[in-house]
């Protein structure tokens, strides 16, 4: 099976071209794209204005006028889900960005230098890990005040050790490999080797971890806004829609089901993307017929 193969085209075709032959990636990607498109669309157009309260239309079940029904103030649920998606995605995306931007360099640095620096960085990492993330996020928002920005920072900080750990573990496994030795014998420094050889080879780990953290970020944002610590009214958010629905569960179950499903579907789609990416990027799986 290790013989020369004529799969030059398969290897040379771009990553996305290959990813789109993977079923779970395609499903996850399509669903995420629809949610992202909805969020983008909400900047320009929503079926109804989410800031206008029409009490006469309150708690309508799904109908042709309101596809997903209306809430206790008569706001259109579909419009609220669309605007809420914008908030969820932005918070989770920026939080993952913070985690990757700081965590990956720290992890790679620790792996490349080793010794006491590695020890100090990783023990500090453990310290951050030791705090329950959501509780600490609550603490941060309690101190600095609720709001989307503080939620981003709180979730972002707890993403840092995750990425630091994943990238350090990936890099540590690569450093003793012969192709890294060959690069060192070619006189390349540790920083250059990290950029040229380590990062491309841990990219799949990071992408997969990134989608997982993105999904967790959406959950965390929903959790914070459920507690009233995320985006503030009148800005709709999925978490607070759930909170508002819980007292009316018996009367109007769709009020809870709609935002709940939005969260579940988004998280599921992101996990499917993660699966798809790891299958596609793994060169051992790549050549399987």
């Amino acid at each position: 099976m290790n013989g020369p193969t004529s799969h030059a085209t398969a290897a040379e075709a771009g990553f996305f071209a290959r990813a789109f032959t993977n079923r779970s990636f395609v499903i996850g990607f399509c669903v995420t794209a629809i949610i992202a498109a909805m969020a983008l669309l909400s900047f320009f157009w929503t079926p109804y204005d989410v800031t206008r309260l029409i009490v006469a239309d309150r708690m309508q079940p799904p109908s042709s006028a309101h596809l997903l029904g209306t809430d206790q103030f008569g706001r259109d649920m579909l419009s609220m889900i669309m605007v809420g998606a914008r908030n969820s995605i932005a918070v989770a995306l920026v939080a993952v960005g913070i985690g990757m931007g700081l965590g990956v360099p720290l992890g790679c640095w620790a792996a490349a230098r080793g010794g006491i620096l590695d020890e100090v960085l990783m023990r500090f990492n453990d310290l951050v890990f030791a705090f329950p993330a959501l509780l600490s996020a609550i603490m941060i928002t309690a101190i600095f005040g609720p709001g989307a920005i503080n939620a981003i920072i709180a979730i972002g900080i707890f993403n840092i050790p995750v990425f630091a750990r994943v990238s350090r573990a990936g890099a540590l496994a690569l450093w003793p490999r012969e192709f890294i030795l060959a690069a060192r014998a070619a006189g390349k420094g540790k920083a250059l080797i990290t950029v040229e050889h380590i990062l491309p080879n841990i990219a799949n780990l990071l992408l997969v971890q990134g989608t997982i953290q993105f999904a967790l970020g959406i959950l965390a944002e929903a959790g914070l806004s459920y507690l009233g610590l995320g985006a503030q009214p009148p800005m709709p958010s999925w978490g607070r829609m759930l909170f508002d629905a819980q007292t009316r569960m018996v009367v109007a179950p769709y009020l809870a089901i709609v935002p709940g499903m939005a969260i579940v579907i988004t998280v599921l789609a992101l996990n499917l993307i993660g699966d798809g990416i790891s299958d596609t990027l793994d060169p051992k799986l790549r050549r399987r017929p």
Partner: protein, 540 residues
């Protein structure tokens, strides 16, 4: 009736045919050597007998073990057979054992499963078996973990597991390929003894004709899933009726033609190693015990001249790879100094090292691990160009890569491919291309051919000899295989326990070894010619 009888066996995996009409048979108490190059279907034959084939496999033909058809057997029946009547020994002793279980548990596991014995009886039996394979209880209690054993000891444990229930048939898939020659000889002896004691049938799979000739009564040669030739080992290999048999035998005994390039004596040595020592810290046994560092390299001194080819031979763990890394400045010596082209290079910083690195390159053993899988050949082969003071432009770089690829017998348009598109031998050519692209004076080659098939090995040795002649590159060959040392080097350094115990002309040291370490290596080295001569003599 034979113990194992395979008739007209064909195997397809997906749409790919793997085996085509294979016939072979093994009697009780007989050793059958199954020889072939990688991809010839040797391992798949073994897996068919064990019914451990990957999922989309289809088999036709018949495989009869002790009279019953294995291909028609239910999975439950196979489970009873595996490990009881048929045992298997794998190539890689490092991965064939469960790292979380003690060796006692792992040997006893099969015994308890198959015989229903209680823990105590099973452990007594396991103890006996471990003693039989050369791991006495006084030194290797059942409570040892695999990581506490060396590679050869682990392979003994694997053999103990496979033979614990006195199987009728033992399948050994490259059982000694991962071991050094001395351990290889010991393991082969052990297998031969177990066969004689228990009248066991042994299917010995190997790519090494010399190994098979030493042990096997009969031989079957596979190529591309077809049996090329089969018969008595000594007769088949000496008659060489089939052209492929001749090709394999010749490749196994191949010696590259080279003019003796003894360089100018008295000129300044190219590489001068003086008193190099490397200590590794050992974890302390207790809080108060002083830890003795482990000395991997112990006051090694030698020097070599330009264009000279020197072999550094020794058993695994003797410190030869550590020494190579120190010379390459990938590791710091604890004491001693290394001069390259007359300049001291120990303790230089990365920038000051650049001219020396340019003239000193490396080839690694594993052709699969020595390339970044995510980069194209062009960037991989061009990597050492980083050391040039003037960075070549894109076009210049492509020219240099193309030249280097031509020199190792590859095409210039290969530079657009990824490493996984090449075979093992081609990848080793890529390693050589990468090593010669800066026109170095010295190449350090760490077991450059030990992972390759015999015919590929012969080609790579030819290539290395040719580059030595044409480009005047000096080699430091690190190997445990004396046939390689004999084929391609002028001088040899024998290393043991971190020290150089013998030096001299390769031919002299190999024919008249003086030190015990050299003698052990020479005696254990499998040599096809010698093994054949002995077989012929035994049979009269």
């Amino acid at each position: 009736m034979s113990l194992l009888e395979i008739e007209n066996l064909s195997l397809d995996i997906g749409a790919q045919p793997i085996l085509k009409g294979v016939d072979l048979s093994i009697e009780a108490g007989e050793v059958l050597g199954l020889v072939g190059e990688s991809g010839s279907g040797k391992s798949m034959t073994a897996l068919t007998v064990m019914q451990l084939l990957p999922e989309p496999a289809r088999t036709t033909g018949s495989v009869r073990f002790n009279g019953s058809d294995i291909l028609a057997m239910s999975e439950e029946r196979m489970c009873e057979l595996r490990g009881d009547d048929i045992g298997m020994v794998f190539q890689e002793p490092m991965t064939a054992l469960n790292p979380l279980k003690t060796i006692g548990e792992q040997v006893a596991e099969g015994i308890r499963w198959h015989t229903g014995a209680n823990r105590k009886d099973a452990e007594t039996l396991a103890q006996k078996m471990l003693e039989r394979v050369g791991l006495p209880a006084a030194m290797f209690p059942l409570s040892r973990y695999p990581h506490e054993l060396s590679g050869g000891q682990r392979q003994r444990v694997v053999i103990a597991i496979a033979c614990a229930l006195k199987p009728k048939l033992l399948i050994a898939d490259e059982p000694t390929t991962a071991l050094d020659v001395v351990l290889q000889a010991q393991i082969l002896d052990l297998l031969r003894d177990l066969v004689d004691e228990n009248r066991m049938g042994l299917l010995l799979i190997s790519h090494d004709l010399a190994v098979v000739t030493e042990v096997a009564d009969r031989i079957t040669i596979l190529r591309g899933g077809e049996v090329m030739e089969a018969g008595d080992t000594a007769q088949t290999l000496s008659a060489q009726a089939h052209p492929y048999t001749r090709q394999l035998t010749l490749a196994s005994m191949h010696v590259p033609s080279r003019v003796n390039t003894q360089s100018l004596i008295g000129a300044e040595p190219l590489l001068d190693v003086r008193g190099v020592t490397r200590d590794y810290p050992v974890r302390r046994r207790s809080l108060f015990a002083k830890s003795e560092p482990f000395r991997a390299v112990d006051h090694v001194s030698f020097s070599m001249n330009a264009a000279q080819s020197v072999a550094l031979v020794g058993r695994s763990g003797c410190g030869k790879s550590t020494l190579a890394r120190i010379i390459l400045a990938l590791d710091e010596p604890s004491a001693g100094a290394i001069a390259f082209r007359g300049e001291q290079i120990t303790g230089l910083d990365q920038t000051a090292m650049r001219p020396a690195r340019r003239d000193m390159q490396v080839i690694f053993q594993d052709p699969y691990g020595s390339f970044d899988p995510r980069q194209r050949v062009e960037r991989l082969v061009a990597e050492p160009l980083h050391l040039l003071d003037k960075r070549p432009t894109g076009a210049e770089r492509r020219d240099m890569v193309a030249t280097a690829l031509h020199e190792v017998g590859l095409q210039s348009n290969d530079m657009h491919k990824y490493p996984h598109e090449f075979s093992g031998g081609q990848r080793q050519r890529l390693s050589i291309a990468r090593a010669i692209i800066t026109r170095p004076k010295l190449i350090i080659a760490d077991e450059p051919v030990s992972a390759l098939d015999v015919s590929i090995r012969a080609q790579i040795l030819d290539l290395l000899a040719d580059l030595n002649q044409r480009l005047g590159i000096a080699y430091l060959f690190i190997t445990h295989d004396l046939t390689v040392a004999r084929a391609i080097t002028d001088e040899v350094l024998v290393m043991e326990g971190g020290m150089i115990v013998e030096t001299g002309k390769t031919a002299e040291v190999l024919s008249h070894p003086r030190s015990a370490a050299a003698r052990a290596l020479v005696d254990a080295a499998p040599d096809l010619r010698r093994a054949l001569a002995r077989r012929m003599q035994e049979q009269g």
